[in-house]
Symmetry: C3
Subunit: 387 residues, 3 copies
């Protein structure tokens, strides 16, 4: 059922490739490469065109030599190979996230708290979303701006909320010189088509119906995936069960890691080589170190609190814990099933999501943390204020 | 319901702070900072005074400039920031655990096996505990003494055992020049009050009733938490269900990591900078590398064995496995619920605890290990001798 | 019930040992050291002799000074101790896997895809297996040959498949100058006897009846275990429940890490010191980076797919995820029990195994990955082609 005109990812990747040879092939081929693949192609340069799992094909794109190299980096992912370095120093993928657009007017970037409140789900069983991929300087604390690669100009991208069985109509338009794509973990769909990369000015659209409830990661799947996730292209889609869970104050926490390199035009760049060390500078909930210490999450005594937690990594789990509390319920799979009870800490794997519930029957200021303090101390902490 | 006289942690932390400015504020303010906060304050210098979740307030303490800096390190947790280094080189928090008290007469420190046997639970539904925080040289093997920060002079601190719903009356008295605190993961309580730090000569007391069964971590929550856990201030409280679990030989294993620096007066110091590398020198069960190889845990054929396992980290999980055996039951949450069956290895997250059961129907010497051998080979191994 | 003539592992390990003293003891003693122990001894030099859990004793072996050192490394596992280095530079355990046999004719080593298909289970409730431990150059990609330590000449070793309650009769014959052993995680058996090490020309045999269904790791347990697992001595035994699971296409994925050092005779050696950094060069499914991108796993629309996944580490979990799909079922323990439902990603701990199921009702090319992209990008990726 896959489109016969579309070359198989496996065929493309199986060919021995040098960088030069890749560049010429890249210009000639329509590379419909999914989440984990490289990224040079797109549908037509029409922001509205839809593709879905029933198979709108990827079509020929313009050469995009400046963006090349991703292909090689998939084939040669050895962190210290010469090829990797060569690739990442070529074109736009230089191993740093710092681009003109991502650092321009960095000093003027305003800090804002990322609202962790789960928005209401889409009404009418249908949700239309249109994200733009673009670079932007993001102020993550009073004195630190990063050169972000973003969905809609923030890290994380917007929280998406729907219910099991809703129809999600999604479009990504790429405003960036770097190819990008979108992989929703809540979608069951052919990633070669739906999660393919698009270049500047082009769009990709697809439709999916989430089958399972949960906190699902979304992210750019363009190679090197590590670089795209590590530079900020991630977020969460929360899928609620059709039968509502018990009433609760619901919040979304997306744990991400920051690996920072040089400062360019006043913005710290994300650094690919540092990502490979797996020793982050910051670990954050919703993109800003310690933001919910500065401005806590506030609830009332008697509230049930439900945290939808994803760890986008790129590398580490979130060992989620609330100081002074225990979770009465942790859903390891889709709520309301797959629940365990009476838990101090549970690890949400990189690329995964879980749902944590507690009853706030004691007043106080309860820090929520990643309890792996080698990393947790680097910013993955906030305050749940129960008043 | 929180005490209006107590400054909010969020208020304190939100203020821009330089080290100098912090030191002056620290002297003037009553900083009731919880588990993850810094630590300069206390209740009155009265070892008996009780605080509980209904709100005994933190009150003004003496200036404690020597202990300052913790506050900054929370705000500026970037591992390679200048500020972090500055903070950790000031006062007592120099990035090393080596103090006079922690290294004095190190050569005379005696090795002892840490008894992993779960003691009987408190009788009469009430348990009174009084721990002292103090520095002490701890001999962890024939040829190695570490400069420990301890609860009651050992690493880990004493095993606490109670049952769901028991009343635990806890007091911590600080005998050390460094501020300390106590965070019981089994307590549901306002950490800003109960888990606040106290300085030398002062005490903090609180009462809690564990709601869930399980193996819960306890630890000093004074900032930098990484330094306090990493220097030995941790242990386990086991909460048994009111309805007894099947009869078993019960043991407690607390996995901890050792990051060692300079030798001072014959004792190796714990090294904060090394902790940030997340590459430990040793990973231990109950504080001593390989101690249960030297002196195994002994049971009889036909015994059911129940291991209450916590990983205190600070960073890594315990991938718990018994060579030559499988667990018939692992409780991911509170026993007797949340059980999975037929398991070779399961990961206890840093800051978490789980309960592992097996039937010893074969005689032999069964090594129990952290099966992540990059770390497990560093000491997290023992022998379960079935005779 | 353990054999009184066999020295206790705990007794052996408790003795203070210098390397010199160890070498002399090693020659004199019959060291029946299990999975985690060192490895100098064996049963008689008779390839057929059987031992089982009822107790065939280890007997005196020839001196094997060249292979010594393992014992010390267990006692002194501090990664940067002088002793460790000394040990690993002595005899065959030089900290590199490069031996004559493991590098000879490396250039002629042929690449082959490791077939991930689960073979049918043993018929007749009985399975006889005879593996040979031997060194061999293994081509893991077009341009890379590694100096492997192997079971039967491949990395991983052969897939073993049986059912709960089957009788597995296993023999390991050692064709290598380095002592080796076999630890089946599916066996309930005295490891001191069954998992003991044998030297060149000798064999060890034992019989076990798997009690629980699941994907179980097997590996060489000879010290340093990190070196033996890290050099390729691992594989998977899948134990199916007696009552068949729902019909499915079943595949086995063994995630392993490669830490590569010097090139010797055209083969890259596995490097013990690099293993201790826990930063692998490659993370692979079934021993070859990206092999199932080159040659995908192919199924049909409508197939249920069951992945039996083990992570042999030595250090890291496998955060298993299929791009564009969700698992309807993940068995955390023994199938058909211990199941959770509706999962995007779950972490299989190092030394553990889990079973993942999905329904392929959409055509496409679905990458399966370790979603910890700091490592996953290093080769733990393949394509599930649904046609």
């Amino acid at each position: 059922m896959s489109n016969p005109d579309t070359p198989r990812l496996s065929e493309i990747l199986a060919r021995p490739a040098t960088r030069r040879d890749f560049l010429s092939r890249a210009s000639a081929l329509s590379l419909a490469i999914p989440a984990v693949g490289a990224a040079l192609t797109s549908c037509t340069p029409n922001g509205d065109q839809r593709a879905d799992s029933s198979g709108a094909a990827a079509r020929s794109a313009q050469p995009a030599a400046g963006a090349a190299g991703s292909q090689d980096s998939l084939l040669h992912h050895n962190s210290d190979s010469r090829l990797d370095s060569a690739v990442l120093k070529g074109g736009h993928a230089t191993g740093t996230s710092a681009t003109h657009e991502g650092t321009e007017r960095a000093a003027e970037a305003k800090y804002h708290r990322y609202d962790p409140t789960l928005p209401p789900p889409a009404s009418g069983n249908r949700l239309q979303i249109h994200f733009h991929a673009r670079e932007a300087p993001i102020r993550i604390s009073d004195d630190l701006v990063v050169a972000g690669w973003t969905f809609d100009g923030d890290i994380p991208g917007p929280i998406v909320h729907c219910r099991v069985g809703d129809t999600v109509e999604f479009t990504l338009t790429n405003d960036s010189n770097i190819p990008h794509s979108m992989d929703f973990h809540a979608a069951q769909i052919d990633p070669k088509v739906a999660f393919r990369s698009v270049i500047k000015g082009q769009s990709v659209s697809y439709t999916f119906k989430p089958r399972w409830a949960g906190a699902f990661m979304y992210h750019c799947g363009t190679a090197p995936v590590l670089m795209h996730i590590g530079s900020g292209m991630y977020g969460a889609i929360v899928v609620s069960p059709r039968e509502p869970l018990p009433a609760a104050k619901e919040f979304v926490l997306v744990q991400g890691e920051y690996y920072l390199g040089d400062t360019v035009n006043g913005a710290r760049a994300f650094d690919y080589q540092k990502m490979l060390t797996t020793l982050p500078d910051f670990v954050t909930f919703n993109g800003r170190p310690n933001q919910y210490i500065k401005e806590p999450i506030r609830v009332k005594v008697g509230d049930r609190v439900r945290f939808w937690v994803t760890s986008v990594g790129p590398q580490h789990p979130c060992n989620f814990h609330v100081v002074g509390e225990q979770f009465d319920t942790v859903y390891l799979g889709a709520p309301p099933g797959s629940a365990i009870r009476g838990v101090q800490t549970f690890a949400v794997p990189a690329g995964g999501g879980m749902c944590f519930e507690l009853m706030c029957d004691v007043a106080g200021e309860f820090p929520f943390v990643n309890h792996a303090f080698g990393h947790g101390q680097k910013g993955a902490i906030g305050i749940l204020a129960v008043e």
